[in-house]
């Protein structure tokens, strides 16, 4: 296999090639970095590239492989969403506020990947502070969808998804607060998983909405996701919401049959609002699952339509507080001129934050303010509880829930410029999952007018393994996940 062929392979093949010494980690990283350099002008998937730093890491990976440390994953290249602090890397969260912020420490996810010898190829573009569904809210410019560079890749982890879809990396990290992994995975035609809240430590992940944020992964297959999940999961004493459990590794039992698995289909999710093209892809995917021996049951998620209003109270409330630390005093952007302390705050924040971030800080401050707290924040928390109850009830009738990730495929850049609320409303299938803290993933299920469509699978709390088994079974009889885009420069045809 040539190096360029290897670049289109999954983790298993890459690990095998590294083990056989067909390729070194340095050679592999170099090949990917060359491809990234070619694609970057078209896709803008990266905020920061640092070839020297990446190759230094690759050299360490080669040493790890040569040693007896059992580092079987060492040398796998990966892209980091620019929201995870990584020592020595500029970490911007897509914001002017952190344009010059070099993180002094590693996030838990980064630390785990480094320990295993993964090689960071670069820092992926994203919506500012992970707020957005199109990656158009990045201070560093929008990311383009590799399937059609006039379209968005989805967001907020748009750079990560675009990079993996374009073959610029075999895997990437992401975060999912309201769909920020699943939706870009769906729109870029790759696999992406958002674990159960508390499964992956949030330490070092720049917070958007703390009670919803969860780190996850993008890759080319469910099989690869399983390998990656086992690297980043597990208890971390530095995150008080990290749960200490002993779950069996996801990669174990991946080949288990899904015959007899009960697949729940939310009756609210296949009707109004879902585009005909996406609907027909999802229906075919369900039929495929039935062909694999699954049983389908209709389930009821009556509260899920309240999810978006509840989310747009809770997430901005938390964000308004989480983003207070960006005040121009200790780190981040500080205005060049100010008369006094309040002007230092106002100008630094006014200049450092983009319009969507400001909008959410304002919304969040409003719903938490005296006299409104009960009507908004507390009410939203009650709704959140009811949404979780819906899912809990549904999982007495089914083992996994299947449905669309988004009502449409990726839209053209600039479609919602003047109307953010319309964009908010498109997250109706992903947000309920975050509010309930459930694990969910998106796998490629077909195309609508040439653009990829993702199938969403949602599992009960802590049942990532079951989700990955289901997705893996689906990917053994379908080849949607192997399709590659050819519409941008840098493609090795």
């Amino acid at each position: 296999m040539s190096h360029s062929e290897l670049l289109n392979q999954g983790l298993t093949e890459i690990v095998a090639a590294l083990s056989r010494h067909d390729v070194s980690a340095v050679e592999l990283a170099t090949a990917y970095l060359d491809r990234i350099d070619q694609a970057q002008p078209d896709l803008n998937a990266f905020i920061t590239l640092d070839r020297e730093h990446s190759l230094r890491q690759a050299a360490i990976a080669d040493k790890m492989r040569a040693g007896s440390s059992g580092a079987k994953l060492a040398g796998i290249p990966i892209v980091q969403k620019d929201v995870f602090c990584a020592k020595g890397w500029r970490t911007t969260a897509g914001s002017r506020m952190l344009e010059n912020f070099i993180a002094p420490y590693d996030a838990h996810v980064v630390e785990r990947l480094n320990e295993h010898g993964f090689v960071t190829l670069g820092r992926a573009n994203m919506d500012e502070f992970a707020m957005g569904s199109s990656n158009e809210n990045s201070y560093f410019g929008p990311v383009k969808n590799p399937w059609d560079v006039t379209r968005v890749p989805g967001g907020s982890s748009g750079g990560s998804a675009a990079a993996v879809a374009a073959g610029l990396a075999p895997a990437a990290t992401g975060t999912d607060t309201g769909g920020s992994i699943r939706q870009p995975a769906a729109w870029c035609g790759i696999s992406g998983i958002k674990p159960t809240y508390g499964r992956v430590s949030r330490y070092g992940m720049i917070a958007y909405a703390s009670s919803l944020d969860q780190a996850g992964m993008f890759a080319r297959s469910a099989q690869d996701l399983a390998v990656l999940m086992d690297v980043i999961s597990g208890h971390d004493s530095r995150d008080a919401t990290s749960v200490n459990r002993q779950d069996p590794p996801c990669a174990e039992g991946l080949d288990r049959s899904i015959r007899g698995l009960r697949v729940g289909l939310p009756k609210q999710w296949m009707g109004e609002g879902l585009s005909a093209g996406v609907k027909s892809v999802i229906e075919k995917a369900i039929q495929e699952l039935m062909a694999l021996g699954c049983e389908c049951v209709e389930i009821d998620l009556p509260m899920s339509e309240q999810a978006i209003p509840a989310y747009y109270v809770i997430a901005p409330a938390e964000a308004s507080s989480n983003l207070s630390r960006f005040d121009g005093v200790r780190f981040g952007h500080r205005a060049a001129e100010y008369k006094d302390l309040s002007e230092l705050y106002e100008r630094s924040r006014g200049e450092g934050f983009g319009p969507e971030v400001k909008r959410r800080i304002l919304m969040g401050s409003y719903v938490l303010s005296h006299g409104y707290y009960d009507a908004y924040y507390l009410q939203a928390q009650r709704v959140r509880r009811l949404i979780a109850n819906d899912f809990e009830r549904a999982f007495t009738q089914c083992d996994v829930i299947a449905g669309p990730v988004a009502p449409t495929t990726a839209f053209p850049l600039g479609s919602y410029g003047a109307d953010p609320v319309q964009m908010y409303l498109a997250d109706l299938y992903t947000i309920p999952v975050n509010l309930a803290g459930l694990p969910a993933l998106s796998v490629p299920a077909g195309f609508d007018a040439g653009m990829p469509v993702g199938l969403q699978l949602i599992g009960p709390w802590w049942h990532e393994a079951r989700l990955l088994q289901t997705a893996h079974a689906y990917q053994t009889t379908t080849d949607w996940h192997t399709k590659r885009p050819t519409h941008y420069s840098g493609v090795t045809k």
């Binding site: 602090c85 992940m205 008080a240 919401t241 200790r330 005296h370 924040y377």
Partner: protein, 482 residues
């Protein structure tokens, strides 16, 4: 001003810095006095991505406090974010407890001139301290020291139950003694480990509704607390009597000018936008944990006081003095337990009397006393068994204090053993009577005052070593018998 027509209402909020090794939500040290910003880790600096993790030792100290004041320890309490911008508040919010604090209710017994009073507590909650802004050291700029940021505090809030500055100070002193007694706070007021905010209002006698209150912030000595409250009472009464109105506001006490000054009014008050901190799950305190903390609690002042009264027969007054601090009781018990057969009251009298006076004169703390409990016990044994007189005992105490030494060795080397030998005393007295016939005549003529003259002469002749009771008895017989 006619203060008699007014009733004063005071509530106190006290911030006690908990004596943990590390901060409440990070592993950084809390030691005082380090170079600025050397004891602030990524969490204390509020760097992007960092998360708080509660310090078990801080929670344990809150439980200890709750048990000591008979409060309810909440099985589940909530950490909340108090949002406001200030340069020495790194995250733009302080993690505190709002709706559900860890310690709920409780009470503290205080002593005033008028007697004992119970002050009810509203709550005590855990929170983190902010950093420090230094405005003086840098021309045209402010310095920020974040060493203190994240230091664990227990904020202890009373009901508005105190009616005078005297009561407020008595409460503050009792609380100060308690937090040191149960070893949750070093009580160092200069370093800010124990500081009070006072809420003060006045109302016409007999009125049910509270007057408008002012909060006086950061009073870090008992004297300032008293002065600030006194000033504030006077200010409010004068204001109202002159037809004005008290405005609800936060005020600062200026010790140099001995007055309080407006800091910010209610209108400028922040909307802190409190909400549960999503980074911190509810704080759960199990029955088992409470029991574990309870088992390790020292005997509390009140229980110890009762024991001194009922088991050792001490007066309420002596028992109160001996339980004012944990050290006083420990010193006393150490003396008492090594003086078998000696009346506990005698021990109490000496600890509260001679020892306490000597400490006061020298300006020393009990832990710095020049006479150890063992030395004092030895002295009291010799006093009780008649080897030395009370007067000699006091002299010996002074010698021990200034020069050290053990009582028996001092008695021997200085020949201070009491003369209880009747024959020897009789000889001395007979000599005196023979030398002073005129005084003998006066006495026999009814001038009983002259008796004292003979006692004085006898003591002088024996260098104070005569057994006083024996001396009295013998002298009376000899003078009478002619």
């Amino acid at each position: 001003m006619t203060q008699q027509n007014w009733e004063v209402v005071i509530g106190l909020e006290t911030h006690a810095q908990l004596s943990t090794q590390s901060k409440i939500f990070s592993g950084a040290s809390v030691a005082f006095g380090a170079e600025p910003n050397t004891q602030a880790c990524a969490v204390d600096l509020g760097l992007p991505g960092v998360l708080p993790v509660p310090n078990r030792a801080a929670v344990e100290r809150a439980i200890r406090f709750g048990l000591a004041v008979g409060a309810h320890i909440a099985p589940m309490s909530i950490f909340a974010r108090k949002n406001y911008f200030y340069p020495d508040l790194p995250k733009g919010y302080q993690i505190s407890q709002m709706e559900i604090p860890v310690v709920q209710g409780g009470a503290l017994r205080i002593q005033t001139k008028a007697g004992e009073k119970i002050v009810k507590l509203t709550r005590a909650h855990l929170e983190e301290d902010a950093g420090k802004s230094l405005h003086e050291d840098f021309q045209g700029q402010s310095g920020i020291d974040l060493n203190r940021a994240g230091t664990p505090l227990l904020e202890i809030v009373t009901e508005p139950e105190m009616r005078s500055s005297e009561e407020a100070v008595a409460y503050a002193r009792a609380l100060h003694a308690l937090v040191r007694w149960i070893e949750i706070c070093d009580g160092n007021m200069q370093e800010g480990s124990f500081r009070c905010d006072a809420n003060v209002s006045v109302r016409p006698l007999g009125q049910k509704e509270f007057g408008t209150r002012c909060e006086i912030k950061n009073l870090n000595s008992f004297r300032f607390l008293e002065r600030a409250i006194e000033f504030e009472i006077k200010r409010q009464i004068e204001l109202i009597e002159e037809g004005g109105k008290v405005i609800q506001e936060t005020r600062l006490y200026d010790p140099d000018r001995d007055e309080t000054r407006s800091m910010r009014s209610k209108e400028d008050a922040h909307d802190y936008r409190y909400f549960p901190d999503p980074d911190l799950p509810p704080l759960c305190v199990s029955e088992a944990w409470i029991a574990e903390v309870a088992a390790a609690m020292p005997e509390l002042p009140e229980a110890r006081k009762q024991r001194y009264v009922s088991e050792l027969g001490l007066s309420e007054y002596d028992a109160s003095l001996l339980t004012a601090t944990r050290e006083a009781g420990e010193y006393f018990e150490s003396v008492q337990s090594s003086t078998k057969g000696v009346d506990a009251k005698l021990c109490a009298n000496w600890v509260n009397g001679e020892l306490s006076a000597a400490l006061n004169r020298a300006g020393l703390e009990l832990s710095e006393a020049k006479v150890s409990a063992a030395q004092l016990a030895g002295l009291l044994m010799r006093l009780a068994d008649g080897t030395i007189s009370g007067k000699i005992a006091k002299e010996l105490f002074e010698i021990m204090w200034s020069e050290g030494g053990e009582v028996d060795a001092l008695i021997e080397s200085r020949g201070l053993r009491q003369i209880s030998d009747t024959g020897a005393l009789e000889a001395v007295l007979k000599d005196l009577i023979a030398q002073h016939p005129a005084q003998v005549e006066e006495y026999r003529g009814g001038k009983e005052k002259v008796f004292g003259f003979f006692v004085g002469q006898a003591m002088k002749a024996t260098q104070g070593k005569a057994n006083p009771a024996q001396l009295n008895e013998l002298l009376k017989a000899l003078l009478a018998g002619g």
